[in-house]
């Protein structure tokens, strides 16, 4: 999976505004969605690799992979993450 192409991102405060060029829809997201998008990047990676990177970068210790999968499903439903 990978971050959707053509996202425009503006940091406001604890919320981040994301403009999705393909759909023209504006999203307002908050943690952990911005961190997931930033880590995934447009190149993308597997769920396991993503969990590993997030745990490492944000010192999460034992990451709950099912919770991460649920957040990813939401981002996929919003069109912000694509499944390769």
């Amino acid at each position: 999976m990978a971050r959707a192409e053509s996202l425009r991102i503006a940091h406001l405060d604890s919320f981040i505004a994301v403009y999705h060029r393909s759909s023209g829809i504006t999203h307002l997201i908050t943690a952990p969605a911005p961190e997931i998008l930033a880590t995934l990047g447009e190149a993308g990676m597997s769920l396991a690799a993503l969990g590993e990177r997030l745990a490492q970068d944000y010192e999460l210790g034992d990451l709950d992979e099912s919770a991460l999968a649920a957040r990813l499903d939401e981002l996929v439903a919003a069109g912000l993450v694509s499944i390769a």
């Binding site: 425009r8 503006a10 406001l12 919320f15 505004a17 403009y19 060029r21 307002l28």
Partner: protein
Amino acid sequence: MGFRIGSDWRAPIAQLEALYADYPKPHDGVPDFTVRLFAARPWRRFLRPAVMIGGDFVLPEAAPLPLAQGLLAAEMGMNLQMALGQRRYLLLHASVVERDGRALVMTGISGAGKSTLAALLGARGWRLMGDEFALLDPETGLIHAFPRLISLKNEAIGVAERAVAGGQFGPLLAGTPKGDIRHLVPNGAAIAAMDASAMPAVLLFPRFGFAAAERDVAPSEVFVRLTQASTNYVTLGERGFDALTRFVKTVPARAIDYPDTESAIAQVEALWAAL
């Protein structure tokens, strides 16, 4: 910004000509938008006349207004053309006044008092830039002036009549869908400087009818409220997103509650002095 107004009747046009008498004609003689006021049915032009609003853009559900409110129909028609047809600027439903080259933008729901405050500040040394729309330029971040007639509603009519000495008012339009309405012509300074834009210095969310109070408004809340206050945010796409996020990140925002207009003016002056 120029408008071409057509009407099946003479009366609304005569009222518009009187109230917009001091305004310049479009620079190149070419109007940007067309508004047409026409009879709901041909025979209604003479029997119990009702005014329908048309133009470059139309709202099919817009209710006809009685001819006595033809001036209101023309003003609503001009607002409608701007709201739906404007592509150059991000339009925010807000009033704007300027002092020292910087703009104070006021937005909020209908009845919050943004028109009244703009009218009163306009009579106290501020330059009225607009009572209905703030025109935000995506290229520069500047607010452009659009000082159309100030639309005063219900209690605000009396407040403005007392506060604006020598003001030129239009006819009282009683019993419109928004209650009683009376238009106030912006003063000569506002009309003379309508080509002068200004950088926004502060965004206010005024709210009438509460004890005086103030709070900061978080950028994300401002962003959401301004997407709702914009009539063409979606149409502008990425330009609208960039213009709005830039505005939200650079312009401080305050919400003020006020019990009466005198309190509001004092709160605005204190806030402005503290910038």
